[in-house]
């Protein structure tokens, strides 16, 4: 039996890893341009494309349940007293903001 919290958190792990990969990839892209290595820059940009698509996919997969289930099972756990923030959101992801 699938649990909405498992889905929500499980595919967020995918998202965080995707975004860390994007940080590495785009730094390498920038470095390739500085070095004038256009072939490597192309490789890094193609990788970044895959990682962007994967990031979108992980967020869609993380929401693989109804709006009603989100409102009843997911959102309350992202509100006090379960979390400290009154305005808990994905903008609090360190990797995402760093990217």
């Amino acid at each position: 039996m699938l649990d909405t919290q498992e889905i929500w958190k499980g595919f967020h792990w995918s998202f965080f890893v995707n975004v860390q990969a994007l940080i590495i990839c785009l730094r390498r892209f920038e470095s390739s341009l500085v070095l004038g290595d256009i072939a490597m820059a192309k490789t890094e940009l193609e990788t970044a494309t895959d990682l962007m698509l994967a990031s979108g996919a992980s967020m869609q997969l993380a929401g693989s349940f109804s709006k009603q289930e989100y409102e009843s099972h997911i959102r309350p756990k992202m509100s006090p007293p379960y979390v400290k923030s009154d305005n808990f959101s994905g903008l609090m992801s360190w990797e995402h903001l760093h990217l």
């Binding site: 699938l2 958190k9 499980g10 990969a21 698509l53 992980s58 997969l61 923030s85």
Partner: protein, 159 residues
């Protein structure tokens, strides 16, 4: 109890993420073998077979030496308590490590493992197109890490 209740995801702090690093020969071999096996898992049609491969590699990799990052400054607009609040909800820790390469590979493997645990559940209705996109993202990340750390992936794992 799920397979991964014992796990938390340890993520390196963003500024420790490498772009080019030469590992020792022993560590190059170890990580090349581990990531080649994860590529093999990502190509499996049968989810249970993939899970067995990833579980085996997680066991072999062990637990890299990590310690909690001191988030006195996030170098972003975020306050440290906001990062900790967010991380706590998602069972994530931001860490520093004397073995950053192993830490990065372990985080990738745990995320892959958790995906396969979810895909292995009966009656799941995950969008197959999105699942394939996520798998391709992991494959591309493994190839990215092979460039960063100068790894030799098993040619049979090539996609």
């Amino acid at each position: 109890m799920t397979h991964y209740d014992e796990f938390e995801l340890n993520l390196l702090v963003p500024w420790d993420l490498p772009i080019d690093e030469q590992l020792s020969e022993a560590n190059t071999v170890k990580l090349s073998q581990a990531l080649s096996q994860i590529l093999k898992a990502l190509k499996q049609v049968d989810v249970s077979s993939a899970l067995i491969i990833v579980e085996d590699e997680l066991y072999k990799l062990g637990s890299p030496d990590v310690f909690p990052a001191k988030i006195s400054s996030s170098k972003t607009a975020l306050k440290s308590w906001e990062i900790e609040d967010f991380d706590s909800h998602f069972d994530v820790n931001h860490v520093e490590s004397q073995q950053p390469a192993f830490c990065i590979v372990k985080s990738l493997m745990l995320a892959v493992y958790r995906m396969f645990v979810l895909l292995d559940k009966q009656n799941n209705n995950f969008d197959s197109t999105q699942v394939e996109r996520q798998k391709q993202g992991y494959i591309s990340y493994i190839r990215l890490l092979s460039r960063v750390y100068h790894l030799q992936l098993n040619p049979k794992s090539k996609i």
